[in-house]
Symmetry: C2
Subunit: 785 residues, 2 copies
């Protein structure tokens, strides 16, 4: 019997033993941080701890000052791309799997020989400070990344705590070397990216820095404290700005500034860099610690001194790995090595964000730009809600319910601090980007509440939900309320918006129903039926409609025209977006068989090349089904609702076989801050939350032999997929805790109460299991009294 | 007998009565805020309270976006110039009398008719929002300014509390009107002045705004809360930026920002403006309140709500005036109306700065960029120390000693927060500009300590003084210590710097001597003699010397070449800069008579036109004597030290008669944050602090009949100039408290202990009074044991 993590803690009685244990036996060994760093996964391989504020990772390319031509930007949302062969440096903040980007704060690059202060290009790396590298001499594990920088023969290694990144540079054949800090480098970089920056040497081995940038967020402010393990032997401040800012009319009269920059050890401006030189590097590596804060330089210093008061890189690395082990060891997976690599890596990627966004003293910068203090909760940022409400947040309600409460409370204070009285839409680092559609924060809140996760301000949640869903300025909520749909002549993406509002309204209704607020519940259940107002019975499709009630005359269900009625998708896909009332949708489409036919048409009808070109952010196609983007994620499970669960079982296996692997390009599209990974985890276990807020999980088909989830209060939930194989992809029967389960869905309580879910697999569909109407996942009507 | 201010308070027993009293009887009536707004006085006529954070004043011109040609900038350091005929708006921060500039935060301009969003030019005001005005329809008093804006027939009036400005706009012939807030406007404006700004409507009559600017200070951050007395009927956000900052690669894909700017009521960028429109303006004026903060929008709102919770403009105006009355009524002056106007206006200008720089909740932004809380003292900013250590700070030690302690403590926390371990040089708004030379903060601290003003951290003062005077990176202190002077091949302005360091070292020595730190005192007394190292006995002048000991071969005592050995001056002037050891200087120059001759040569030898052109910031010339700049301010008093007090008496009258008036151009040069005004006040009373830190005041000649200073603890000090007239400019005799005073100086204690100083004036010099060696002001040797 394998000792659990907590047992080990008790037995060994020391953190060192714990770390050793974690390092040797943990499921962290199965994580391959390079999965998703190729293709369009947009993942990075660098060092993080679960939900950490720091993501310290190598950047292989991005548009940079003085580089021409500039590299392709979308490919490099995460700073790193597996196709690249040079590293420009290591920066401290990265998005995980996003389809748009920003960040890349405080790039650090070590070098030997001549000091270079511009990056050079991928084609001509010796023209600048960047270095070639090879995947042969690159290694990583959760919380750690290392690489040989070939051009300098430097072994670069990084690790991290929550708010501090730690670098270790071993100069293999030089006694003297340099470290460049390039405050002009960024991800999704462009002219005018840097609003202002400064960097200041405060003693012979410590710097503080500041940077405000534009980009996905406007005027995003970040502070840094940078500490070197050795005293700096020489240094230089570089200001590439063509404008001077001090005493602008005194150009040439520098005498009036009687302190010279080098003497006072500061550079400030829009294009600032710093180079430090060091001696005696043969004897011991150079270490660097970088503390981050969104509040102030002093907080960045305090974060650094509090979290990493020492210079022990190995301990920091072991601590980071131990943090990962506490999570990854909550889940035991049995399956092929490839499956274990994919599963644990997916779990690793599901635990990247939302990120802690609060200093050790409790302060954080709110969406109002003010400094606040998180009281009674941890403050998180980075809510990619259009993506993550679907499966990531439901996954967290199972594996980390305590943290869910803090995340909900973080969204509620965002609402309080928001001048628009809105819950977050797509927010990060104290900024709302207003990216994507819907108001899916309400889904996350309702789902948590309904699952009994309620350690947040409930009254505030009610207020925030109502004010968000009725906001007079967001998108076209007033028109949605007036017409029962968003007219296509008022707003683009009107059909997608209508459908997603309707689902969100269902989630709200469910919460109010559970709270006993029957009148409010009735109001939102009614709004949840608005999906019917954009269903055109003539064509049988969701279709744009104008404010006069006329259907879109230019209708093609494959069309995914930008600024058309659909969001990153077409009518074929969005016609299935009624997760909360699939039974109602089946009725609209003409019953179970016709619905099955429509699903098959989606999966089996190839998109024309022209149509593929039109689609934005669509990848991982099976016919019109686009696994690489979120609007498709629930669709394979919809056969269940038509009494055809074996068809879901086939589609899940088809998706798993064709669109997922344990290679760098193993993701069919953006991981989208863990949503794609959460889809994998649920689907591998055999169930999926089609409509968060209805407390059910549609049973698909398990893909791995066995999964044990270690839950709160010592409970565990295990899935067994007996006789699973390449051929045996069909469920023959299911038992839950030894009793036959004939319905094709699970309820949340059945998971978190612990137990055993046994699937008997076979090579032929069992067309009787889970097919009765009563066996299908609950629809909205079940909850409407 | 006139009831004193405090008696009145007791008798009337209410603040309203107090205000009424103040309004009707106060010496505020003698203040003409237009004095110094012409010529190069660089003063502004707008609304302030003593030492207030807000300076709300009309701006007549400055370089602005879209105006060509741009107006002359130096003339408009205070935003307003009396020569101008148009007003572009009212902004909330202004320097008082500086020779370089910045600020002009949050320009507000009312208008009627067509909305204009660009300023237009002075020549063509109707092209933009600016308006013509006339001095005939312009009026002001302390704490208040009003003007008719001719182009709109709007009566604009402004007043202020410490942290809040209040506007009153009476639309005389329109029912509808607009108010523009132009965040691109600034004083000393230039391209890239605005780093970032935003403005946000938070309800139908309130805005919050932010602006970070470059200029004299880098990345200076200011927050605003703006409240209108009426709801806004319509509004528009203007963003003149040619770059978009949100989602830079999504240009044309605005849909991704699903909240439109107008709907969410925000604009952010580098060229942002806002226009609000109002109805129903015929019935009542429009009022606007603007709260300032350097910390946050919420602090700006809190400042506004706390200081001005009401809309009573008249009360705010009366309160402001009452605050001025408490100061101006501390001094009773008898003299001509012109003298009273000049005296009280000088006193008014002496009380503008340093400014309160702390929010009502105690928070302020330090020179480290961090938010701090002032504990046990009020935090001040704006230390123009090269100017104000001379007479302004000594004046404050007499009329407001309590505030001096807070100012000293503010300089000490600046030292603590300074990364350079330096007391302020020329600092404002949390920024050190490093403008001008010396480390004169030590003079202010030592002078306060020596005068018994000690409600600050004495240990910290000792530490700060030593670390400042020995700073390894500031100017050329290490070389000054090594060579005993600053070599001219190391640093420009080397002679001026050497001389001013030597004086500062004297002040330090005096403080350490009084503290009983004899060893330290000895060290700094020795450094105070360094002036001798730049005195060339051959020529008899202070002269540049290189690090090898060679005198400047290119020497001309009139030369004031930029980046030469002198700071805004020449050797003729700086050869007299040994305020702390005039006796020693007289010895070097060959005795009393030769010294007198040298002084006469200074005053009587006209500078050639070529030389005048070379001089920077020099105005108010009498020969080589430049009353318009600080290095000359003590010189007229130096005849005293040579036993020729009647010559001082002549020169003071000569300066008063030729270089001072009660007209807008009545100042001979920049007021320099009250230094010129303080010179006037002291000189009018008949004495002047030649060497702050030696506790003496050289007696010049009184210029007004009678001055009574009401001092702490109910004491008062009165000067009487009996028989003073145009002809009777010479002192015949002096009594102090009825006893003959035969020395030509006063000690500080003799003033603050209260008493009567009676000068008997006559038309012929009394060449026996005050001429004995023992009668001359103390020199350094008196204090050296």
């Amino acid at each position: 019997m394998k000792a659990s993590f907590y047992t080990s803690l008790l037995l060994c009685g020391s953190l060192v033993s714990l770390n050793t244990y974690a390092t040797q036996h943990s499921n962290t060994q199965w994580v391959d941080t390079f999965i998703g760093t190729g293709g369009d996964g947009h993942l990075f391989p660098g060092a993080v701890v679960p939900f950490g504020m720091v993501q310290l990772s190598p950047d292989t390319d991005n548009p940079m000052r003085g580089v021409s031509p500039q590299p392709e930007i979308y490919k490099r949302c995460a700073g790193y791309h597996y196709d690249d062969h040079t590293i420009v440096g290591f920066s401290h903040t990265h998005f995980s799997g996003t389809g748009h980007s920003d960040l890349g704060d405080l790039l650090i690059m070590p070098m030997t020989g001549e000091i270079k202060t511009t990056p050079g290009s991928a084609e001509n790396p010796e023209a600048g400070y960047r270095s070639r590298f090879s995947h042969d001499k690159e290694w990583s594990e959760p919380g750690y990344y290392g690489v040989e920088l070939q051009d300098y023969n430097i072994t670069a290694q990084v690790t991290a705590s929550q708010r501090v990144g730690m670098h270790k540079y071993t100069f293999n054949d030089a006694d003297a070397g340099h470290v460049l800090i390039d405050l002009t480098a960024a991800i999704y970089n462009f002219e005018n990216k840097v609003i202002w920056s400064d960097i200041r040497l405060i003693d012979d081995h410590t710097l503080v820095a500041y940077r405000a940038t534009n980009g996905w967020a406007n005027n995003r402010q970040m502070y840094f404290a940078i500490e070197f393990s050795k005293p700096i032997s020489d240094y230089n401040f570089i200001n590439e700005d063509d404008k001077r800012y001090r005493c602008m009319d005194c150009l040439g009269k520098e005498k009036h500034s009687t302190i010279e920059n080098k003497a006072v050890k500061i550079a400030a401006g829009k294009a600032v860099k710093f180079v430090a030189s060091f001696d005696g590097l043969k004897d011991e590596p150079l270490y660097i610690k970088v503390g981050l804060s969104a509040v102030s330089r002093s907080n960045a210093l305090e974060n650094l001194k509090t979290e990493l008061p020492h210079w022990d890189f190995d301990k920091t690395r072991a601590d980071a790995k131990a943090q990962w082990a506490t999570y990854l060891d909550k889940v035991d997976v049995e399956g092929t090595k490839s499956q274990k690599r994919q599963f644990y890596t997916a779990l690793y990627h599901a635990l990247q964000a939302p990120n802690i966004y609060q200093d050790v003293n409790g302060q954080y910068r709110g969406v109002d730009g003010e400094i606040h203090e998180g009281k009674g909760f941890e403050h998180y940022t980075l809510f990619s809600l259009w993506d993550t409400y679907r499966a990531l947040h439901p996954l967290l309600t199972i594996i980390d319910p305590d943290r869910v409460s803090s995340m909900v409370q973080s969204m509620l204070v965002h609402y309080q601090q928001s001048y628009e009285n809105m819950l977050p839409i797509w927010s990060f680092h104290g900024h709302e980007t207003w990216t994507m559609i819907g108001y899916h924060a309400v889904s996350v809140i309702a789902d948590a509440y309904l699952k009994g996760i309620r350690d947040f301000d409930i009254d505030l949640a009610v207020e925030a939900t109502i004010n968000t869903a009725n906001n007079p300025v967001y998108d076209a909520i007033p028109q949605y309320k007036k017409f029962g749909y968003v007219p296509m002549d008022i707003l683009p993406e009107s059909v997608s918006i209508t459908l997603e509002y309707a689902y969100d309204d269902f989630a709200i209704a469910q919460m109010f129903n559970a709270m006993g607020k029957k009148q409010l519940a009735k109001e939102y259940y009614a709004r949840a039926m608005n999906y019917k107002n954009v269903f055109d019975k003539q064509t049988g499709y969701m279709r744009g409609k104008d404010s006069k009630g006329n259907w879109n005359p230019d209708f093609n269900p494959e069309a995914a025209k930008y600024m058309g009625p659909f969001t990153e998708g077409n009518s074929n896909q969005y016609s299935f977006y009624v997760p909360h009332d699939v039974a109602g949708l089946i009725d609209l489409m003409g019953g179970d068989d016709k619905f099955e036919g429509r699903l098959d048409a989606l999966f089996d009808t190839h998109l024309s090349a022209d149509m593929i070109k039109e689609h934005e952010d669509i990848a991982g196609l099976i016919g019109n089904y686009a696994h690489g983007n979120e609007p498709s994620h629930h669709i394979a499970y919809l056969y269940n609702y038509a009494g055809k669960p074996w068809r879901t079982q086939e589609r899940i296996r088809q998706i798993m076989d064709t669109l997922s692997s344990d290679k760098p390009d193993g993701l069919a599209g953006n991981d989208d801050v863990g949503q794609m990974s959460a889809w994998y985890i649920f689907s591998a276990m055999g169930f999926y939350p089609v409509a968060p807020g209805d407390l059910s999980y549609a049973i698909g088909a398990p893909q791995v032999e066995k999964v044990t989830l270690k839950l709160a209060k010592g409970k565990s939930f295990t899935t067994f997929a007996k006789d699973i194989s390449k051929e045996n992809l069909y469920i023959q029967s299911v038992t839950l805790n030894g009793k036959p389960l004939t319905r094709n869905y699970l309820m949340h309580a059945e998971i978190i109460n612990g137990g055993e879910l046994r699937y008997q697999m076979g090579d032929k569909p069992n067309k009787t299991w889970g097919t009765a109407h009563s066996a299908r996942p609950p629809a909205l009507s079940k909850y409407k009294e």
